[in-house]
């Protein structure tokens, strides 16, 4: 099942490092993926795995001492109606402060953050802030921008949009602020929306409203969404393709169905076992949760070989702690970065039990 939708974003071997006094933090360490037009891609991982920095790299808003060290981010503009091929822009080559990047940021690629209060200015009304975004990217008058702002507000389900535009962020509830953020992000009809934990700070019933809103708006406006979250429930409900990140790398890429029903990487499998699942007690399967031993290693001291090997139950001594695992294609739509799945294994290392791993040792 190959996806025929045109490419929108190609990220290749992206590396974003932070140069601190204590050492170099390789926040994003060789990440490659593609997003197609209208596709919803999930990025999951625990805090510090590099999922937010990947998003910030695409937007060119990584703050010093962090910077993109190498790799490429190619953004494909929609082809013009005259039949010519669409323009391809190398984002890493653009000046982060320059006009071309500013036109893409907020115009063609926009972002919604976890905490709306920190991304909205407290001293301007939400209406002024969304109008600023509209006037920056579209040549419209102030009156027209205001009309568009009110239109966007009603689209994101704000009650009394004509009055709400004149409110300050602190006068709105958390859910309403997040709606305002989404309205602002979508005001210029971007082709890619990056949503970084957009519902994590919200209550569950508000979260349901916002997720429903994002689904409806995507159906209507057709933008692609890169959905960053640590919540596997949100991943299951919202995405088509999922990337699992661990210590700055993508360890597994799969369709959302394969991720949940045929996960390959030991980290993905453990993550799925570690979450309490709604309905498990009703089914009588509630037992102990599987926990991943230890903690994420310190970013200054990334383990040799596979970064996950100290916590992995399937670790093969002499292989996983020595050699960096290659990216293995398990199917057309699933890749995994793990020694267990190498197509031509040097030793017979296919089964996934500690015993078999131990056997290999001898």
């Amino acid at each position: 099942m190959t996806d025929t939708r045109p490419l929108l974003l190609e990220v290749e071997d992206l590396k974003t490092y932070f140069y601190l006094d204590e050492g170099v933090v390789r926040a994003v360490d060789g990440v490659s993926f593609t997003i197609r037009r209208g596709q919803t891609v999930g990025v999951v991982g625990e805090s510090g795995c590099g999922k937010s920095i990947t998003a910030r790299s695409i937007m060119q808003i990584v703050r010093p001492p962090g910077r993109i060290v190498s790799g490429s981010i190619r953004f494909h503009r929609a082809p013009p109606s005259n039949g010519n091929p669409g323009e391809v822009i190398e984002i890493t080559k653009l000046d982060p402060m320059g006009k071309p990047m500013r036109m893409i940021r907020g115009g063609e690629i926009s972002m919604v953050f976890q905490e709306p209060m920190t991304s909205l200015s407290p001293v301007h009304t939400v209406g002024d802030q969304i109008m600023e975004a509209i006037m920056l990217h579209q040549s419209v008058s102030k009156e027209e921008a205001r009309r568009l702002a009110i239109h966007m507000f009603s689209k994101v389900g704000m009650q009394q949009p004509a009055r709400t535009v004149d409110r300050y962020p602190h006068q709105l509830s958390g859910g309403m602020r997040q709606r305002a953020m989404i309205a602002m992000a979508l005001s210029c009809t971007p082709s890619l929306l990056i949503a970084d934990e957009p519902t994590t700070a919200l209550d569950v019933t508000t979260e349901a409203q916002i997720l429903q809103l994002m689904r409806d708006l995507q159906r209507e406006l057709g933008m692609a969404i890169m959905f960053i979250t640590h919540n596997l429930g949100v991943v299951a409900q919202m995405t088509e393709v999922v990337m699992v990140m661990y210590m700055g790398r993508i360890v597994e890429t799969a369709t959302v169905d394969d991720l949940f029903y045929a996960p390959k990487h030991p980290y993905t499998r453990l993550l799925l076992k570690a979450i309490p699942k709604l309905g498990s007690k009703a089914m009588g399967t509630a037992t102990r949760l599987e926990s991943i031993k230890g903690t994420v290693p310190h970013p200054y001291a990334i383990p040799r070989g596979c970064p996950f090997h100290p916590r992995c139950g399937d670790m093969i001594p002499g292989v996983c702690d020595a050699v960096e695992p290659p990216v293995v294609n398990v199917s057309d739509t699933q890749t995994v970065r793990c020694h267990l799945y190498q197509s031509a294994p040097s030793r017979d290392v296919i089964p996934l039990t500690p015993q078999s791993a131990a056997k290999v040792e001898h």
Partner: protein, 349 residues
């Protein structure tokens, strides 16, 4: 609620608990109204069990937990606790000396492992402090006891002289748990103990809490907003909405057979970790009611899709509709509400 005074299995019983915070305005700080954070809450917890208290932010669940420990005085109501030494006491009325003795048997675990530990104290100081304050141990004995506590929660005893900043979030939560365990309490109020932690660490802490409960026959009042976590850890669950408990029942029953429309909506709103079961959640109209100006009748009626005229005028009582299943809804018997579907076996892992 039924009378539980004679039931020795009930460790904690809360009756009609209220906490109203005054809203003060103007030069003379005139009281212009009250935020009814907790507004007539009744529940009980049996010894050795876990009662989950769920609800959305501002529903009063944290305040309820704090009232139980008398971190603040309630406006009204009774909190009966079966103390190991003093017998059955009403917490809001006990004197200072009795309260101090009581506190040995009731402890708390906090949400934020970063702000709940004093950065200037070593692990020995933090975990040993309750032992010193209550005169349980000192000197070498204190050290031994702290070392034992650290082992119990899965920390290395060599860490005793380190400061909290050297530890990760999960380890800090273990430190907080060790401190709570120091005096061998009967009841621990856990206030969102895993919501600040990553998924893999969350599982470690939940497992630890379950092991400790078995080992020390602990009773937990588990306050949280994550319905999956609460289902996993709780024997019974109580759902709060705007300062009131709207429903409580044994966990499997509450999740599969909810009887209150708010519980139904909450359960349907949780994003299910199954891509083959994409559900359209019940989207509630409007927002959570303002506890300073709650609506008339049933507080949930403005958002309820099953409301009838009676709900607007008459406040429903919390009543027992089946053994251990309490609901405050006029229509509890007639409505056919949707609970959580059992998990697909392939996903049960």
């Amino acid at each position: 609620m039924t009378e539980h005074a004679d039931d020795p299995s009930i460790l904690l019983e809360v009756r009609n608990l209220k906490k109203h915070f005054p809203i003060k305005r103007g030069w003379f700080s005139r009281t212009v109204g009250y935020v009814k954070a907790v507004d007539g809450v009744s529940f009980f917890v049996r010894e050795g069990e876990t009662l989950g208290l769920v609800g959305e932010s501002g529903c009063g669940k944290t305040t309820t937990g704090r009232l139980v420990l008398r971190a603040m005085p309630p406006t009204d109501g009774e909190i009966w606790f079966r103390d190991r030494e003093q017998g059955r006491v009403n917490i809001p009325t006990v004197d200072r000396a009795a309260l101090k003795r009581l506190r040995r048997n009731m402890q708390m675990i906090f949400q934020d492992p970063y702000s709940s530990l004093n950065p200037r104290m070593t692990l020995l100081d933090i975990v040993g402090e309750p032992l010193l304050v209550h005169g349980v141990a000192k000197g070498a004995e204190l050290k031994d006891r702290v070392a034992e506590l650290l082992r119990v929660v899965g920390l290395r005893t060599e860490y005793m002289n380190r400061y909290p900043h050297a530890f990760s979030g999960g380890q800090r939560q273990r430190i907080g748990i060790a401190r709570a365990l120091a005096l061998n309490p009967q009841l621990i109020v856990c206030d969102e103990p895993v919501s600040a932690l990553d998924v893999s660490i969350q599982a470690q802490i939940l497992n630890l809490l379950q092991d400790l409960q078995q080992q020390f026959r602990l009773t937990y009042l588990f306050v949280a907003h994550d319905l999956s976590v609460v289902e996993h850890i709780s024997d019974r669950v109580a759902v709060m909405y705007v300062g009131k408990i709207v429903e409580s029942a044994p966990t499997p029953r509450l999740y599969t057979m909810p009887r209150h429309p708010y519980t139904e909506a909450l359960l349907s709103a949780v994003p299910k970790p199954d891509p083959r079961r994409r559900t359209t959640p019940i989207v509630l109209e409007g927002e959570v009611a303002d506890p300073a100006h709650p609506p008339s009748g049933c507080y949930f009626h403005p958002r309820c899709r099953y409301r009838i005229d009676r709900c607007v005028v008459e406040t429903p009582e919390l009543r027992e509709i089946a053994p251990d299943h309490f609901v405050s809804c006029h229509r509890a018997e007639e409505l056919e509400l949707q609970g959580v579907l059992p998990l697909t076996r392939a996903l049960a892992h």
